[in-house]
Symmetry: C2
Subunit: 317 residues, 2 copies
């Protein structure tokens, strides 16, 4: 993407040009060193924009219905006159390093709506539950004028890690019947979530969903030690109208937050994370040949890995 000028791209993104937004997101995801410098410039420009979109993370175990939930919540919001951006991750891309399912086809209605923008990202084998550039992508969608950014994150709560650092509201979807887990697991999940929603409240699973709701409700109320959506909610794709109720709860939560302050605190996390990545990356490229040589010695001659490490970084005794 060597011909991209960050300033003109920024202007086009601000004007609502969807093609420019896609180009900007691709620039951010690029691993080329020259692109990284441009992406950084673009993001610094973006950081000076009005940051008034609601950023909402949608998390949950595989199969819980994240795509369906996002499709219906997104359709409800665009029908209310909102512009909605969706950042999705394809969990299966972890193994293949490429997007397989094609999230646009997973969200057929929303994907066709002119006020919605869906961007699938490969998860590229990371463990934090979100893509490598999801936070930056959120900032870009916000600058492009979307009112709400829905961020799909993978995982089951405990290993969620980074999802809670991208969003103003961290939503966890729970499968009916998943209330029988260990108490400690539920606790771990609930410590991260601002909002818990039981999916598939219909057909054969309707009763199970209500039972799970009741199980989570008692633990939820007991640990109501901070500001959260106070009800455990139910969702079904059979009654799209019910998404107004879900949205009302989310909206009320968001209106009560000091979003600017929360975001600054979350940026401390991103500063720390990106600093660590940059420090390592710099060290690794500076010592590339030495490191490769040591790896060969470990592999071929059985050099002990800690001895190899100490030959690079001796203890300061």
């Amino acid at each position: 993407m060597s011909s991209v000028d960050p300033h003109s791209l920024f202007e086009r993104i601000l004007s609502g040009d969807r093609f420019a937004l896609s180009k900007g997101l691709t620039l951010i995801e690029s691993t080329l060193e020259s692109d990284k410098i441009k992406a950084n410039e673009l993001l610094v420009l973006v950081s000076q924009c009005d940051q008034s979109a609601y950023r909402i993370a949608i998390s949950g175990a595989p199969g819980v219905g994240k795509s369906t939930f996002i499709e219906y919540l997104g359709m409800y919001l665009v029908n209310q006159g909102k512009k909605v951006a969706v950042l999705t991750i394809d969990p299966s891309s972890r193994e293949t390093h490429g997007s397989i399912l094609g999230d646009k086809t997973r969200m057929e209605l929303l994907g066709k709506h002119k006020e919605a923008y869906i961007r699938p990202s490969p998860s590229a084998g990371i463990y934090g539950g979100i893509g490598l550039c999801t936070y930056e992508s959120t900032l870009l969608c916000e600058a492009a004028g979307y009112d709400i950014v829905l961020i799909e994150t993978v995982g089951v709560g405990q290993s969620e890690g980074e999802g809670k650092y991208v969003a103003d509201l961290f939503t966890l979807l729970i499968q009916p019947g998943a209330g029988d887990d260990l108490q400690s697991m539920k606790k771990g999940i609930m410590e991260n979530a601002d909002c818990i929603i039981i999916t598939k409240h219909d057909g054969d699973l309707k009763r199970a969903a209500e039972k799970t709701q009741a199980q989570y409700r008692s633990s939820w109320k007991q640990t109501m030690d901070r500001n959260r959506v106070d009800e455990i909610l139910l969702a079904t794709s059979h009654e799209p109208n019910k998404f107004s109720e879900i949205w009302n709860h989310m909206d009320a939560f968001l209106k009560k937050q000091n979003l600017a302050k929360n975001r600054r605190n979350r940026e401390v996390f991103w500063f720390d994370k990106k600093l660590r990545e940059a420090v390592i990356s710099k060290y690794m490229s500076q010592h590339h040949d030495q490191i490769e040589n040591l790896i060969q010695q470990i592999r071929d001659q059985g050099l002990f890995y800690l001895s190899a490490l100490r030959s690079l970084l001796p203890y300061d005794e």
Copy 2:
């Protein structure tokens, strides 16, 4: 632990002194800089020992029955005259940074046996599914003369990350009924595992366990692209005798491996990981004040985190 001499501790560990082994493991886990140097010395000594123990990881989702499985497999092995060390992780310690359940009480029979040694470690909030020092702990147990080291890892396969780098055999326990997952999820799980065992093959769940076995079997056979335990096995705590069959499969797998070569390849992973940790740790302590100052500016003045990052590490344009 400033009074510890690594050389004499090493001799005592070699002689089979359990107290010395515990002391060595505590030394390895210590975060004091002076202890780290001693731990490094101890480990370099240990790396020169005969490394002939079988290292077996036991993984699976919370509630699948990892402790019970380890207890019964461990009892089977000590009854066969083997010395067994168990390294466990308490998943609930993630939130509290301390061991709560007390793994010794979770494995009552094995915990009392004189040929078994159980060591619970706090998982200390990491995402790799094992403790920060689990690999080094395995080496120490091996030096202490244990024939088999059973390593409990947390997680559900996909987010397992590091478990497969500690062990010669990576075992995944599956809950009856867990075969209904997405195909892609099963694939991710199976790519890591050398051995899959369906637990709770008894009582109400007996039929479900067999059904799950059949479901995994078909996928397992289809993807038999490398050396693995070729059968999907069943386990129940109601028939401890059946653990001889499980062990026979594991033993046959282990005897077919080039353990030394595999271990050298895995040590490349640990070299890379520990190098990254050491590089970051050194940088962070060298730039502590600058970093703290930037964090304050992000928090109080809304300094953009990428601008903060670039003030520390400018791009080399």
